[in-house]
């Protein structure tokens, strides 16, 4: 077993060896510009790009012509929101989203609010789930877009996308889904789920960074989006700029691989995740699961360790790469907005750790992580005044805390 162990697969994933192999020729011999229509170099590149569209389309049940390449899910989401708002401003200006979305969505929504849009931020329940009825109730004659993530990147909660899709269809409102965390992990069918626009990313599914895609429905309805990057009219005019052919080839190969591995892989990763959860929760009291107990991403385990601050815990786990919702890990010094939106007390956000399991994690690694987590939490609790007080039977909520600043 090699240290450090990587268990932060929501953040990014390593490029699969077969993906890298597929990409390499497109840096050197096959370097053509896919937009060069007049010579074999261009034709070769174009052919590779079209193959990748087919591979991505297959994974989400779409046609290859409905795939637009971007730099990643953040850009895709920006185009989905801003492009819809600009294109449909005559119909309306109201957008529906929810509070635990990725910042790509929330910050785009805030930007649009400054430019005359109205945005409804729906609440989530304690498991991080949106109620489809709330979505329906929020729709007005001015609603132009509903945008909801497929699964949350922090707590892994899977949203009822199919139900929301039906509601969107019934009311003739466009439906955008941020599927950065779920592509290749959960089955996606844009038709069955009523999705009109979908954002996905390469580096979350063992492809390269800097490449993403936007699915844009071509029929029933034909979705039209205004571009945010102009110049050259590439990608149906929605996203200009020379295509990143090697990354596109890699993304396609990563999707091809995910198509064939998904069922077996998600079963294996779920097993590892459950083993990790049982191992930790079986050995330590006062550990709480954040997110939905069953409707969650296969590799996601988000736990709060009462009485132990998340960053201090991560420092103790220095040979394990995980992430935390603690304020100390963010530049803003604010604890996770996702956990707070779910109504978790701030101290639970400060004590949360996200484990993200992926394709390359092993049983041996899981066993090692369990041992290290139990050891480190026990050590830190021994030096925690909160643990001491709790053991003495003091209700921490009744204490008058001295907040100096």
């Amino acid at each position: 077993m090699k240290l450090p162990i990587y268990m932060d697969n929501h953040s990014t994933t390593p490029v699969d060896p077969s993906v890298l192999e597929a990409m390499l020729p497109y840096f050197t011999n096959k370097f053509g510009n896919a937009a060069s229509r007049s010579h074999p170099f261009g034709w070769e590149a174009e052919e590779a790009v079209e193959k990748s569209r087919v591979q991505i389309g297959k994974l989400i049940g779409s046609g290859h012509k409905e795939i637009i390449f971007t730099s990643g899910a953040t850009e895709s989401t920006n185009i989905a929101l801003k492009g819809t708002a600009e294109m449909t401003c005559e119909k309306g200006n109201h957008i529906i989203t929810q509070v635990t979305e990725h910042k790509a969505t929330l910050d785009s929504a805030k930007y649009l609010e400054k430019h005359g849009c109205q945005v409804t931020y729906l609440p989530v329940d304690q498991n991080g789930m949106v109620d489809p009825l709330d979505v329906e109730k929020a729709i007005t004659p001015k609603t132009i877009l509903i945008t909801i993530m497929h699964a949350n990147n922090e707590v892994g909660t899977i949203q009822p996308i199919g139900e929301i899709g039906k509601i969107a269809k019934k009311h003739g409102v466009l439906f955008h889904v941020d599927a950065a965390q779920t592509l290749g992990r959960l089955a996606i069918s844009v038709d069955q789920m009523g999705i009109d626009i979908l954002s996905v990313s390469g580096h979350k599914i063992y492809g390269p960074k800097g490449i993403g895609a936007l699915y844009v429905r071509r029929t029933n309805p034909r979705v039209r989006l205004s571009p945010i990057v102009h110049g050259g009219g590439h990608e149906r005019g929605i996203r200009s700029g020379t295509l990143n052919v090697p990354a596109i080839v890699g993304f396609g190969q990563a999707c091809e691989l995910a198509s064939s591995l998904m069922d077996e892989e998600s079963r294996r990763i779920t097993e590892l995740r459950d083993r990790l959860m049982k191992g930790i929760m079986g050995a330590l009291p006062d550990v709480f699961l954040n997110g939905h107990p069953s409707l969650r991403l296969c590799g996601n385990l988000n736990l709060s360790f009462a009485y132990v601050e998340g960053e201090a815990l991560m420092m103790g786990l220095n040979d394990i790469a995980v992430s935390s919702g603690s304020a100390c890990t963010s530049a803003s010094l604010e604890p996770s907005y996702v956990l707070r939106s779910m109504g978790k007390p701030e101290e639970l956000a400060h004590t949360s750790i996200r484990f993200g399991l992926g394709r390359f994690n092993t049983e041996e690694e899981v066993q090692f992580v369990i041992t290290r987590v139990v050891e480190t939490v026990t050590k830190l609790r021994e030096m925690s005044p909160l643990y001491e007080m709790a053991k003495q039977g003091i209700d921490l909520k009744s204490v008058q805390w001295d907040v100096p600043h």
Partner: protein
């Protein structure tokens, strides 16, 4: 965030973790911070004849908060009260090479030192008052 060797040493081998008897009149206790802020520091000082004889801490907080309190206990042991009160958060920042976002951890440690000494002094004043009052009652 990459941390300096001194900070890591205090985090990995914290000095003077533990508790002293809160009811002991020679022990000053401070609990500063709040769980919802992500930092709670408990510092206890045993003071005899104006000298800090012993210091113990327990901290809920990030690695910098743990290291700041560990360092504070190390520095304060054996010092006179007036010397202990001279310890500034900036000294802790310098010693542990704390990055700017972690300066508040050192402020908390300085607050804890002051509050623990204050608690000790209050206890002593109360004791003195009590013994004076007892003295007044004695028939002449």
């Amino acid at each position: 965030m990459a941390y300096g060797p001194k900070l890591l040493d205090h985090y990995n081998n914290p000095r003077n973790v533990g508790s002293l008897d809160k009811s002991d009149p020679t022990v000053g206790t401070a609990v500063v911070g709040a769980p919802e802020c992500g930092d709670v520091m408990k510092l206890q000082l045993k003071i005899k004849g104006n000298i800090v004889e012993d210091a113990k801490f327990k901290t809920f907080g990030c690695g910098s908060a743990i290291a700041s309190s560990s360092l504070a206990t190390e520095w304060i042991k054996g010092k006179r009260i007036d010397e202990a009160l001279q310890i500034k958060n900036t000294d802790i920042v310098r010693e542990l090479s704390l990055p700017p976002v972690k300066v508040h951890c050192s402020v908390l440690a300085e607050d804890a030192i002051k509050a623990a000494i204050e608690d000790y002094q209050k206890k002593q004043q109360a004791l003195a008052k009590q013994s004076n009052a007892q003295g007044d009652e004695e028939p002449k």
